[in-house]
Subunit: 361 residues, 3 copies
């Protein structure tokens, strides 16, 4: 017989969400995420104070209007982080590792005043051989207040099982494109008047035609991360993953300290990439990304990029696409483009991101 106190405690337990475990998912599961979020010029300012982005289109309403936007759109990665953050309480609160991204497309500009929400579908499940964890594949979509899809991406995460004895909830690994086709790029960028794109004001003289596949660019500067900064960013996105916030718990955990949200490194690298890629004003797609190693406060992030390919966008003469690999490192300048030795990443590497950006022609 249970004492009344136990019953009370049990009821209390059900009031609090401990997140989903591997066996709680099923193939085809449709999850409507909380919390809808009106993004504002306030969010833009906090984001800028944390990353110092300098892309002119996102920085100036006048610059944006001159080339054909109604006003300055939000930084694409701010949109990504806000949508991603919504998925965390349902998808990855019990994640051991965020394994990868694929087929991520930015489909519509987002402006201050828009309200973002997110929905995910479980498209793959595979239990790991240790039966302690499994991999969950989800396709997540971000919507604006008109129910336009603004962002569509797949990610897969390794999630703990609540109960090792539970049968696997499914066994299917989705086929995912290695990269987004150029024909699928550009929905997130309205037709622009490239002649009105003022490269002097934008801070970089080079346009699409000035880049060639194979060239590498060291973005030179380094930026040190503080705990207050990554926590403020991650909270701004309403991302609730505890490993980023709880020093008391993490001091006894795997890393002995708070782990920085992987997206923080992506935003830092994007911001650093302005030096050399100043007119890469829009991220059209992310083909794939790996958080190669964890990042902690006190470390300094550097980055370099390689142009993997260039592509025309069918039917568009205003912009072209560069496929980039941007590698970020910690406490390691990138003048010699550190990447891999054989299959192993350089020990300083923290991020390997493969994505498409648009540049004016």
């Amino acid at each position: 017989m249970r004492a009344p106190g136990d019953a009370l405690k049990a009821r209390a337990m059900t009031k609090t969400s401990a997140g989903n475990f591997f066996e709680d998912f099923h193939l085809g599961q449709h999850i409507e995420h909380a919390t809808p979020r009106t993004v504002t010029v306030g969010d833009v300012a906090v984001y800028n104070s944390l990353f110092g982005s300098r892309f002119a289109v996102q920085s100036s309403d006048v610059f944006a209007a001159n080339i054909g936007y109604p006003r300055a759109p939000l930084d694409d990665l701010l949109v990504f982080h806000v949508v991603f953050g919504k998925t965390v309480p349902d998808i990855s609160l019990n994640a051991v590792a965020n394994l990868g991204y694929a087929d991520c497309r930015f489909l519509k500009p987002v402006y201050p005043g828009d309200t973002l929400s997110a929905v995910s579908e479980v498209i793959g499940l595979r239990e790991n051989s240790n039966k302690k964890t499994g991999i969950v594949y989800v396709r997540s979509r971000g919507f604006n207040q008109s129910r336009d899809i603004v962002l569509d991406y797949v990610r897969w995460v390794m999630v703990r099982k609540r109960n090792e004895a539970a049968p696997p909830p499914g066994d299917e690994v989705p086929e995912l494109p290695k990269s987004v086709e150029p024909s699928q790029l550009g929905a997130g960028c309205p037709p622009i008047n490239a002649a009105e794109y003022d490269t002097a004001l934008a801070g970089c003289p080079r346009r699409f035609g000035d880049y060639k596949a194979g060239e590498k660019i060291d973005h030179l500067a380094g930026v040190t991360v503080e705990d207050a900064e990554h926590m403020m960013a991650t909270r701004l996105y309403q991302n609730t993953a505890r490993i980023h916030f709880d020093h008391f718990g993490e001091s006894k955990g795997r890393f002995g300290r708070r782990l920085i949200y992987g997206g923080h490194a992506i935003s830092l690298a994007r911001s650093l990439s302005f030096n050399g890629l100043g007119n890469a004003f829009h991220i059209a797609a992310i083909n794939g990304g790996r958080h190669v190693a964890p990042l902690f406060a006190g470390l300094t992030v550097f980055a370099w990029s390689e142009v993997l390919a260039t592509a025309e966008l069918p039917g568009r003469n205003d912009v072209g696409a560069l496929r980039l690999r941007t590698v970020a490192t910690k406490d390691r300048p990138c003048a010699d483009f550190p990447y891999k030795a054989g299959d192993d990443y350089d020990p300083a590497a923290i991020l390997d991101l493969d994505y498409w950006v648009l540049m004016p022609k």
Copy 2:
């Protein structure tokens, strides 16, 4: 005879405000506080980046409009902190301790673009037996630009005397309600369309009827506080209490370091309480609150809540009220609901807050 330098110094002294001391107050004194403050979506974003609040009504203009608000209102505690901050230069610049709150009612929603100002009345004074300090009771009111009262509360603080020999400026302790009556709740929440309140989007399936007096909820997560964070928050509210900002001075003071503004712990606990109380979208009143122990940077805050009572609001079918006790701790998870042993608080407790929240029916 005073040297000219002394006279100059004396005049200079009068230019600078060192704040009021105990003997500077008198019963019935009416104080109009500086500085009027237009609150904006920028303030909302900074607040969100510091606390990561996820209540849907305050997060989304669309969600708020669907249930009957004109748009997303400000977080109630942001309003509280801004009004409170205005009172600091006049009331508590020379405070030894912020002793308590009572009869705090949120009377009108505040929206971005509103301009807040504050007025206080001294309603009680009692010298302490050591004659070095006295207790000042003030009723403070926050107003919007239309002179509507948005917030009304009593707080009492222990304030230093400038001169121990000064006679006590008064001797009266006001009678204060132990809690706000349910009939006095709800002015700060417009009539809402509870049927349109989407609990899936809000992130919590439970409504007013799902909670019972006596149940306890562990809010699970912990969040570590950094010096940059609490100083940014406290400055956002234009709260000038030096103990929060001056490491040089405080390193030689009572705690050997900066003390975190007590309201910071309240906002952290409120934010943590989303997990388990996700539809408690409005703080209607604060019955009382104690800052049980000081909080410092580097510590991790956890929280749990007990439902003390449930109440109907006379004449309203849209929302009901829960009276909650939320206890926050430092470096101490709350699975076993740490509170008191006899009259003594658990050594990890930092906050004991008794308040009313509204939930949709």
Copy 3:
């Protein structure tokens, strides 16, 4: 013969800007700076959270409208920092030291929603005798979206040479005014209705006539700076000087750590100066400024001011001007107004700022 890798590296080098070196400048050179920037209530909120400014005109749309502004203007120093930040990638990325400011005039109020851009002209060049560095004098102007000049100032910086053997690119030192004439003050402040200026709400009873040349004011409070704070501020201004951000690089550099942007100390001192100068609502001009010593995170900033002069503004009865010297120190309260011993600054001094503020009559 160069290997293909070298060619690739050389091409990559040209994509990235390492900033201008001394020999890259020439007299009369006109530089249009990136990045245009729409300033918003979000920027205001982040700025407020970092400096806690309390001047009523900038804090409240209602207060500002009551005296004749269309709404609350931006803090003058926020405008200064945003314009200054734009000049950094072109002027001072290779600076050894920021030597001084002169003839800085605020010519038009800036409001949330305005878009700022900047242009500089090289007005002086002088090589140092060691031939390793030279001094570059630039007149920089900030514009709003209507091409009105909102800010006009001269600064000079010591910039490294890329190649010691390069001939000096010019040899001319401009004549600069020791201070801005009172007749040149006030363009940045619309005619105000001084009778409607509510000193109680503003938090300070004293108007222009209450101050006399020679009086000194200790601003009392101290505020400690954190790395997260100064980096957030400096990024908010899109200031890219690496010395503020890269702990890894700077740990091996001149100071062994990140140097705080000099403008951070100016904003902190301005904010502290509210206590004693609460109605000095507008900075009309900066006559000159010296960053006497570097500031680092963990140190606490104090400040005091001396009224150097008072002046009427020709043709205006609404406001008068005070010429102030504000001195900021680190880890050193200012009750005894620390300044110079002979020609040497007090060892705790970090800032010596000479400027004009406007006050209501």
